[in-house]
Symmetry: C2
C-alpha cells in the first residue's frame, strides 16, 4: 500500500493503546536530544556507571545506542572512561564503532584491542571500511590482524590497500551486482536469490556488463520490481557513469553530486568492472572536503575532537609563526618611512585600517574563488571573464571605500598640519590595496589550481601578506610623495 | 553473476572490435574534460553554432549533454547566447535543467518560458523539485503555471509549499513505498508490480507502518530480492530513523550523514508517514551548508556564478563598510596615545604585527569551532572542556610567539632609546592578544549557537574587531605604563 491507505490516526482509541515500553526502549529515548546529538545527561549517566564500577549498567547504556552514537560518546568521554567502555562492547559492534571513530580516538581503541578480536570485528565490515581501519595500524599489528582473518576478507583488504589513499579504489567495495546484457529481469532476480553471500549487504543498482565485463549500462534495483520478469535488461538499462580506480575522491564526490548518483561502478583502466562506490561513503567525503577548505583557508589543520593542547598547538603554531614572518616583512617597509610617521602620527592610525580592509576584501574574493573552483563553476572556460569581473569589483569597492574613508579622515583631522593631504593619501592607498586584494584573491587560487595544488591551502597566507604589505607601503609611499 | 564471472578482457581480439561510433556518441565524448567538468572547447562549439544561427547543430550539441551539464553550459554562456539555447531545449528536459540551475539563471530562464510549457515541464519533476522551482516564480506566473498543471501534481506542490523553506517538509517527496506490518516479502513485491504509477521513479526502502500509518520499521528493497517470498516484513525490518516535517534541512543532513541513510520517512507531528527524503537531495544540502559556512566566515554572501559586478559589489561592500567602522573604532585607541608613538616610532611598526597575529589566531579558533558545532562535536556536553582547552592553547601559542617576537625585537632594535623596553611591551601585548583571540574565537560562535543563530555569520567580524582593538590598545597601554 502506498499513501492511499486508510488513515486510523484520527481514531482516539489508538492513542490509548500504548504498549509498555521496555527498559532498552527507555534508554534509546533518553540517549539523543531533540537535535539528534547525544544527550549530555546520557554522557553523565555513562560516567556515573563507570565511576560506580557498574559494568552491567555500562554495557546496557552503551548497547542502547547506535554505533555512530557510541563513537560520539567516546568523543565526549575522557581517556580514562573510554578505557572502561571498550571492554564492554560486543565484538560484533566493535568493527562498526571503530569505523565511525575519529582518527586519534581510533588509534587509541585499536591499541587497546587484541589482534584476534580486531580481526573478527573487521570481517563484519565492507572491504573499504575494513581497509581504512587496517591502514591505521602499525606494521606489526597489521600483519597479526590480517593473519587472523578469513582468506577472502584478507585478499579484499589487501587489494583495497594497493590503491592510493583518497582514491576511488580505496572508497569502493569489491562486492556488487552485475548481470550480462542478454539477461531478463526475471533471470537477474533469480540470480540475486541464489547468490546471497556473494552480494553486498546493501545494493542499489544492477550494473549491466558486456562479455569483457565492461559496464554498458545500469538500472536501479527498484526497476527489477516494477518491470515484468521477461523484460530484457538491455531494454530498460540507462547509460552509466563510470569511475576509474585512480580517480581522486574529490572528483568522485563531484560526479555523485552533479549527477545525483546513488551508486556507481568502478572500473580498471582497461574498463573492466572491479567494484562499486555507494553514496553513503560519498556523503562523508563531501562534508570532509568542504571542512578541509574551511580549515585550510583559516590556516589550521584538524587536530581532531579529542586532541590535547599539545596536538592543537602543533596544528596552529606553524601557521602563526609563518604569519609572524610575513607580517614582519610587510611592515618592514614602515621602518624606511619612520620620518614620515614621526612627522604625521595620524598615518600610524590610518595604515592599519587600510591594511585590514585590504585583508578582508582579499579573504572575500578568496573564499568565493575557492568555492567556485571546488564546484567547477570556475574553470579555464570562464577564468578570463571571472578574473576581469573580480578586478572590476575591486575597483568599485576600492573607490567607494576611498570616498567614505577619505571624507571621514578629512572631517576628523581637518586641514591643519598637512592633514588636508591625509584624506587623499588614505583614499589612494585604499584603492591600491583593495585592487591588490582582488588581484591576489582571484589569481592565487587559480594559479595553485593550475599547478594541481589545493587552492585553499596557502593562498590565504599569501593574500594576507600581499594586502598587509600593500596597505602599509602604499600609505607611506604616497605620503612621502605628497608631503615633500 | 557477480564478480566471479569469466573475464574476457585479456583476449586481445576484443580490443579490435570497436563499434562505429554514432555522431551523438562522439559529441558525448567531447563534452566533458578528464575532470568531468564541461569542456571549454565544447562551450566554444555551442557559441559558434549560435553565432552561425545553426539551430539544428545547437539542438544536437545541447541534447548530447546530461541535464546537469546543460545547466553548467548555461552558466558558461553569456545572457545573449542563453536566449538562443532555451528555445531549442526539449520540453521534457526543461524541468530537469531548470531544477539544476543556479538561482539567478533559473529566474532568467523561468521568465523566458511560457507558463504552459513550464507547467508541462514541472509535471515531470518530483514534487519537492517542482515546488522549489514554483517558489521562485512571481505571484502572477505562479498562479498561471499551477492552473495549467494536472490536479494531483498541483495539490502535491501546494502541500510542499505549505512547509517552510529549508525544512524536511520542503525536501521530501510525497511518493514513497509503505507496507503494513503483517505483509510478507511476496505480498510487497506483488503490490509494487501492481501499483506502478503511484510509486516514485526511484525508491530505496520500504517503510513498514502500523494501522495508524506510523512507521515502525524499514528495510532496503534489496532485502525484498534476497529474502524468501513468505518471509514476513516484521521479521526482517530494522529500526527506522524518522524525520519530522518541520526539521531544519541542516539537521536532516546531519542525521543522514551520521547514520549513513539512503532514504528516511518523513512524519507529521502526530507520527503519521507523509513523505520520504532521499540521500540524493541531501548531498546537495551538505555541500551547500558547508559552502555557506566558508562564505559566512569570509564575510561574503554568494552572489551566484552569473552575478554581474553590481550584484557582487552588493554582496561584499556592506561587510567591508562594517569592517571600516570596526577598524576605525579599534584604532581610535591609538589616537589617545599619539605621544607614545611620536616618542617611539617603532611602536607603529610593531602594533600591526601584534594585531595581525591575533586576527589569525582568532580565525583559526573560529574555523575549528564553527566546524565542530556543525558536526555536533562541540555541544553543551563538552563545551566547558573545549573552552578550557582553547584558552590553554591561546596561552601556549601566545607565550611562544611572545618569546620569538620579543627576542627578534630586542635583536633588531637593540637597547638604545627605550628600545630595551620594546621587547617586553611587544611580548606582553602578544600574550594578551592571542589569549583574547582564543576567548573570542571560541565564545562568539558558542554564544551565537546558543541563541539559535548561525555561528558562522558575524562571528568573524566580531573576532577581527576584538583582536584589532586589543592588538593596538595592549601595545600602547603597556608602552604608556612602561615608558613613564
Amino acid at each position: 500500500m502506498s499513501r492511499e491507505t486508510t488513515d486510523l490516526t484520527d481514531d482516539p482509541r489508538h492513542s490509548l493503546v500504548i504498549p509498555e515500553p521496555e527498559a532498552v526502549e527507555d534508554l534509546e529515548d533518553l540517549a539523543l536530544g531533540d537535535d539528534y546529538a547525544l544527550n549530555p545527561d546520557y554522557v553523565e549517566m555513562v560516567i556515573d556507571a563507570a565511576d560506580r564500577g557498574d559494568t552491567a549498567r555500562l554495557r546496557e547504556l552503551v548497547h542502547a545506542l547506535e554505533p555512530a552514537d557510541v563513537a560520539d560518546l567516546m568523543g565526549f568521554l575522557s581517556a580514562g572512561y573510554r578505557e572502561e567502555v571498550i571492554p564492554v562492547l560486543d565484538p560484533e559492534w566493535l568493527g562498526e564503532i571503530i569505523a565511525e571513530l575519529d582518527d586519534n580516538l581510533r588509534e587509541e581503541v585499536l591499541e587497546a584491542t587484541p589482534s584476534a578480536t580486531l580481526a573478527k570485528a573487521l570481517e563484519e565490515l565492507d572491504s573499504d571500511d575494513a581497509a581504512d581501519v587496517i591502514d591505521d595500524l602499525d606494521e606489526g599489528k597489521r600483519a597479526q590482524v590480517l593473519a587472523a582473518m578469513d582468506e577472502g576478507d584478507r585478499a579484499a583488504i589487501e587489494t583495497s590497500l594497493s590503491y592510493e589513499d583518497e582514491t576511488a579504489g580505496r572508497l569502493m567495495q569489491r562486492e556488487f551486482l552485475a548481470a550480462p546484457q542478454f539477461w531478463t529481469v526475471g533471470q537477474t532476480i533469480d540470480h540475486v536469490r541464489e547468490s546471497g553471500d556473494h552480494l553486498p549487504e546493501l545494493f542499489f543498482d544492477v550494473y549491466v556488463v558486456d562479455p569483457s565485463f565492461t559496464p554498458v549500462g545500469a538500472l536501479p534495483i527498484s526497476q527489477l520490481l516494477t518491470n515484468k520478469r521477461e523484460t530484457p535488461l538491455a531494454e530498460i538499462m540507462e547509460p552509466v557513469t563510470e569511475i576509474t580506480v585512480d580517480m581522486d575522491q574529490e572528483e568522485v564526490a563531484y560526479i555523485f553530486d552533479k549527477y545525483h548518483l546513488i551508486s556507481a561502478p568502478v572500473v580498471e583502466p582497461g574498463g573492466r568492472l572491479v567494484g562499486q562506490i555507494t553514496v553513503d561513503d560519498i556523503v562523508g567525503v563531501i562534508r570532509e572536503e568542504a571542512e578541509e577548505d574551511i580549515l585550510a583557508l583559516a590556516g589550521v589543520s584538524d587536530a581532531g575532537r579529542d586532541a590535547n593542547v599539545v596536538d592543537i598547538v602543533k596544528s596552529r603554531l606553524p601557521w602563526l609563526l609563518l604569519n609572524l614572518v610575513t607580517a614582519t616583512i610587510a611592515v618592514s617597509g614602515v621602518a624606511v618611512f619612520q620620518g614620515e610617521i614621526a612627522q604625521l602620527v595620524a598615518l600610524a592610525i590610518l595604515m592599519p585600517i587600510v591594511s585590514s580592509l585590504g585583508g578582508n576584501a582579499g579573504t572575500q574574493t578568496l573564499a568565493v574563488a575557492v568555492r567556485a573552483l571546488a564546484s567547477k563553476e570556475l574553470t579555464t572556460a570562464n577564468a578570463r571573464r571571472i578574473v576581469l569581473r573580480e578586478l572590476s569589483v575591486g575597483i568599485v569597492n576600492g573607490c567607494t571605500l576611498a570616498l567614505v574613508m577619505g571624507t571621514a579622515t578629512y572631517l576628523f583631522f581637518g586641514p591643519a598640519d598637512h592633514h588636508d593631504k591625509l584624506a587623499i593619501i588614505v583614499g589612494l592607498a585604499l584603492i591600491a590595496n583593495i585592487f591588490t586584494a582582488a588581484v591576489g584573491g582571484i589569481l592565487a587560487p587559480l594559479a595553485l589550481a593550475k599547478m594541481g595544488r589545493d587552492p585553499a591551502v596557502s593562498s590565504s597566507i599569501f593574500v594576507t601578506f600581499l594586502t598587509d604589505f600593500t596597505g602599509f607601503f602604499a600609505v607611506l609611499l604616497i605620503a612621502a610623495l605628497l608631503l615633500h
